[in-house]
């Protein structure tokens, strides 16, 4: 019964979405008050129904109901509860259900917390949200029903892919989807603005928190995925420029650009049509990511089971959503008038420069990801575009952007003083040259870009601190710096932390990318390998039994200059149900770098194993930096102006009044 209830709820949600997508948006144009007010209740009802459907699927998983095909394919009675639950979204059908659940959640959030939005705008936004949802409901109901029964029910299920049975990956998809789907809000606001033909500061102020929330989740999701790849795949790497990774990275890049251009719309009433376009592009890239992962168009290490029929459906969805919105943009976009004047040397100029770099970077990643497809389609060879392409194009693009990131915040709005700003950064420049030089002198064996990147990291980090110091007048006697610290808005703390986090992350990426030491060999118990000044002694392998796997655990004792450092226990797990093996790397983290050990197959009969040992410098800085960035985003999200700052609408028309208020 639970499965049927779930399917019924899902079908009802689809019906509600049909109402939500038509009446409010028509009502907003024709000014039918009762139609406009339908938007809120339908959005909430739709969420409740999808949540019910999702709850049903979760219940089927927890109770291991093997009369449902989806549960059979992705669950097993011996799996721990956490992975039974994460199995719900660890497959194509369930993850789509999670997708619409989050979409409906955002819609309900607008209905509940968007009381200060002008009713017509809110109605339009919610209608556009429901239109997107309709596409996904149809997709689920027609091609990917998660509630399909199987007869006769097998005694036990296949299990969730053991690679996915991992705490990091259990929460990776929900985080990622909160990000992807979150950008649908910016998209819906953009479409609503195009329909209304008006974008103003108030609009930007409403869009920005949604974009920021999505950005925080997406950043978290990408980092979780990358962290997982680092310790679970056992290759010592954390980013592979795989199509699936790129699929999540492109919306991140475009979303970051969108965050910054929203600020320009809010403060300077400029870059309007550009911001609208970015909002459309960011969500389009999220959709494209879904398409690439599921259609079978590109191969990837961790794609879902692909199915060309589903591919056709998603492509049709892409064409309707992206093609439709870009057509609307081509039609209505030219009518958006910009009032703000634009000087190149100014805060908004710097933000525009950020946008140029970010969108070029997005385009590069898109090109690299789709290039094999282009070549294949014109009948060329099978090619794959690997890290060398991305590294040699992406990194040079980032260098000028990071260079400008330290300068931009020091420039004023409207007209900035470039030489003044550079003057304030004189010491920072010298310090970062010293960092670069010192790195070069200490380790000139690394690639040039990594040495440069450490210098840039110092430039950005110190530059951000100089900006903060300037704002609180740290070095001005009697300026009351502490009081100024307390008065800083959370949004400005958000900027400082965001930039600071990136600086820290860059240091980590440079260290791990440039100076990783690797050693692969066969080791017998008692053998010692020296790597980066550490002595790894292999103590042999013993067997261990987990809930649904057996594993060979290889132990290493690590000493440095004769002093004990740590024990490393690397596992090679064997999951009998799915006949799969996974590696669990053993990692000892220090600020200077990670000691990383993996065991492979046994070699011969004398207890010898193939082992891989790594020293990955500064890796932890990447994770710390990412956490700082997300923290910055969350702080900025809690800024006062989003809670109470948005102007209230008047009872009648709102346009003139809002515009007047936003000028103040």
């Amino acid at each position: 019964m639970t499965a049927e209830l779930g399917l019924f709820a899902l079908t009802l949600a689809f019906a509600v979405a049909l109402v939500q997508s038509t009446f409010p948006i028509i009502g907003a144009t024709k000014n039918y008050i009762s139609w406009i007010t339908l938007a809120g209740p339908t959005a909430i009802t739709q969420f409740v129904l999808v949540a019910l459907a999702f709850g049903c699927l979760t219940k089927l998983y927890i109770t291991s109901d093997f009369s449902v095909l989806n549960v059979v394919q992705n669950s097993n009675t011996s799996m721990p509860l956490l992975y039974k639950v994460s199995g719900v979204w660890g497959n194509h059908e369930g993850s789509l259900l999670l997708w619409v659940l989050i979409l409906a959640l955002y819609g309900a959030a607008v209905a509940l917390f968007g009381q200060n939005l002008p009713p017509a705008l809110r109605a339009r936004v919610l209608s556009v949200q429901a239109m997107i949802a309709i596409g996904f409901y149809l997709f689920i109901l027609l091609t990917s029903n998660p509630f399909e029964r199987v007869f006769p029910p097998p005694p036990d299920g296949r299990e969730l892919n053991p690679l996915l049975q991992d705490p990091g990956l259990a929460f990776h998809p929900p985080m990622l989807y909160m990000g992807y789907v979150g950008f649908s809000m910016a998209f819906s606001f953009a479409i609503a603005a195009l329909v209304e033909g008006r974008v103003d500061a108030a609009w930007a102020r409403w869009v920005r928190p949604w974009t920021l929330a999505a950005w925080c989740f997406l950043t978290g999701g990408i980092v979780l995925g990358s962290w997982w790849a680092y310790y679970e795949l056992g290759w010592g790497g954390w980013w592979f420029w795989d199509p699936v990774e790129n699929a999540s990275f492109m919306p991140w890049l475009a979303g970051t650009a969108l965050l910054h251009s929203c600020t320009v719309v809010e403060k300077r009433d400029a870059l309007k049509s550009w911001t609208i376009l970015l909002a459309i592009i960011t969500f389009s890239l999220s959709l494209l990511g879904t398409f690439l992962v599921r259609s079978g168009v590109l191969t990837s290490v961790h794609a879902f089971a692909t199915d060309p029929e589903r591919g056709v459906f998603i492509l049709a969805l892409l064409i309707v959503v992206i093609g439709g919105s870009l057509s609307l943009f081509a039609w209505r976009g030219p009518q958006l008038k910009t009032t703000g004047l634009f000087q190149p040397i100014s805060r908004e100029g710097a933000l525009l420069f950020n946008n140029l770099c970010m969108t070029t970077a997005t385009a590069t990643v898109l090109l690299g990801t789709l290039y094999p497809l282009f070549v294949d389609a014109v009948g060329g060879d099978k090619v794959s575009v690997g890290p060398p392409f991305f590294n040699s194009v992406f990194i040079p693009l980032m260098i000028p952007m990071i260079f400008a990131m330290a300068i931009g915040p020091l420039l004023n709005w409207k007209r900035g003083d470039l030489f003044g700003a550079l003057g304030r950064l004189k010491l920072v420049g010298i310090s970062s040259l010293i960092v670069t030089g010192a790195t070069w002198a200490w380790h000139n064996d690394g690639p040039v870009f990594a040495t440069l990147a450490l210098g840039l990291s110092a430039w950005l980090g110190l530059g951000t601190l100089v900006e903060l110091a300037g704002r609180i007048k740290l070095f001005v006697p009697g300026a009351g710096s502490w009081a100024r610290v307390c008065r800083l808005t959370r949004a400005s703390w958000g900027m400082t932390l965001g930039h600071m986090g990136l600086a820290i992350s860059i240091a980590g990426m440079a260290g791990a990318g440039g100076w990783t030491q690797e050693s692969i060999q066969t080791m017998k118990p008692g053998d010692t390998i020296k790597l980066s000044g550490y002595d790894f002694t292999f103590k042999g392998v013993h067997q261990r039994k987990g809930a649904n796997f057996t594993s060979a655990v290889g132990t290493f004792v690590v000493h440095k200059n004769g002093i004990y450092v740590t024990n490393l226990s690397a596992e090679k797990r064997n999951y009998p149900v799915g006949k799969m093996q996974t590696t669990e790397a053993a990692i000892h983290t220090t600020l200077g770098g990670d000691l990383y050990a993996v065991i492979g197959d046994h070699d011969g009969n004398d207890g010898a194993y193939v082992t891989r040992l790594y020293f990955n410098p500064l890796v932890v800085w990447m994770w710390i930096g990412a956490i700082v960035m997300v923290l910055g985003g969350v702080l900025s999200l809690s800024d006062r102006r989003y809670r109470i700052g948005a102007p209230r609408q008047s009872r009648h028309g709102h346009a003139k009044e809002l515009e007047a208020k936003s000028m103040i």
């Binding site: 259609s295 079978g296 168009v297 191969t299 093609g323 030219p334 282009f374 294949d376 099978k382």
Partner: protein, 187 residues
């Protein structure tokens, strides 16, 4: 007018990408040109599985007729999906199908599986330690190789074999291979 053109540009770019995505859907990225395409089958010799009294399966069995070599295992769910089609094929076509029973932990499970679901194979080799599978470059089960009468691999299909692949690719290829003596490496 010039300004309007800029606003249409994103749509045009998307149309181009959409065109390639649509075209990409008709192509199969998994149809990797096998490393072994046009090369002779690797040397292998596998013992028979239990309950079959012929002498296993080796490359010598692949020398007189165009044949299919199918990698399967009782543990492999996709093989179970593929199996009814192989049964049909063995009855309706005269192309022999040989099997490599891959990675069985229990030597009884392969034969039992064939007893339960039917046995479409002419020769079956037991390959619990992936000896032949590695030589063939198998990445997963099921996989099917088309081998011509000279023992040269002409095609590799990854995943369950179905009517579409058979009609569209394998059957035409078999026709071509059976009627002509094609020099190596021309397909």
């Amino acid at each position: 007018m010039k300004q309007r053109a800029i606003f249409i540009l994103p749509l045009i770019v998307f149309c181009i990408i959409g065109f390639y995505l649509a075209k990409g859907l008709t192509l199969d990225p998994k149809k990797m040109p096998s490393m072994l395409d046009g090369k002779p089958v690797p040397t292998f010799s596998l013992p028979p599985i239990k309950g079959r009294d012929n002498n296993g399966f080796s490359q010598n069995h692949l020398l007189d007729k165009v044949a299919l070599v199918n990698i399967f295992g009782s543990w492999c769910v996709a093989c179970r999906i593929e199996h009814p089609f192989l049964m049909q094929l063995s009855e309706l076509s005269n192309t022999p199908i040989h099997g490599i029973n891959w990675r069985e932990e229990n030597p009884d499970s392969g034969p039992e599986w064939l007893k339960r679901h039917g046995d479409p194979y002419e020769f079956v080799g037991d390959d619990p330690r992936s000896k032949a599978a590695i030589a063939f470059g198998v990445t997963g089960a099921p996989e099917t190789f088309l081998v011509d009468q000279e023992g040269i691999i002409r095609y590799k299909h990854v995943g369950p074999l179905d009517l579409q692949t058979w009609r569209g690719i394998l059957w035409p290829l078999i026709q071509k291979l059976s009627h002509k003596n094609i020099p190596r490496g021309t397909l």
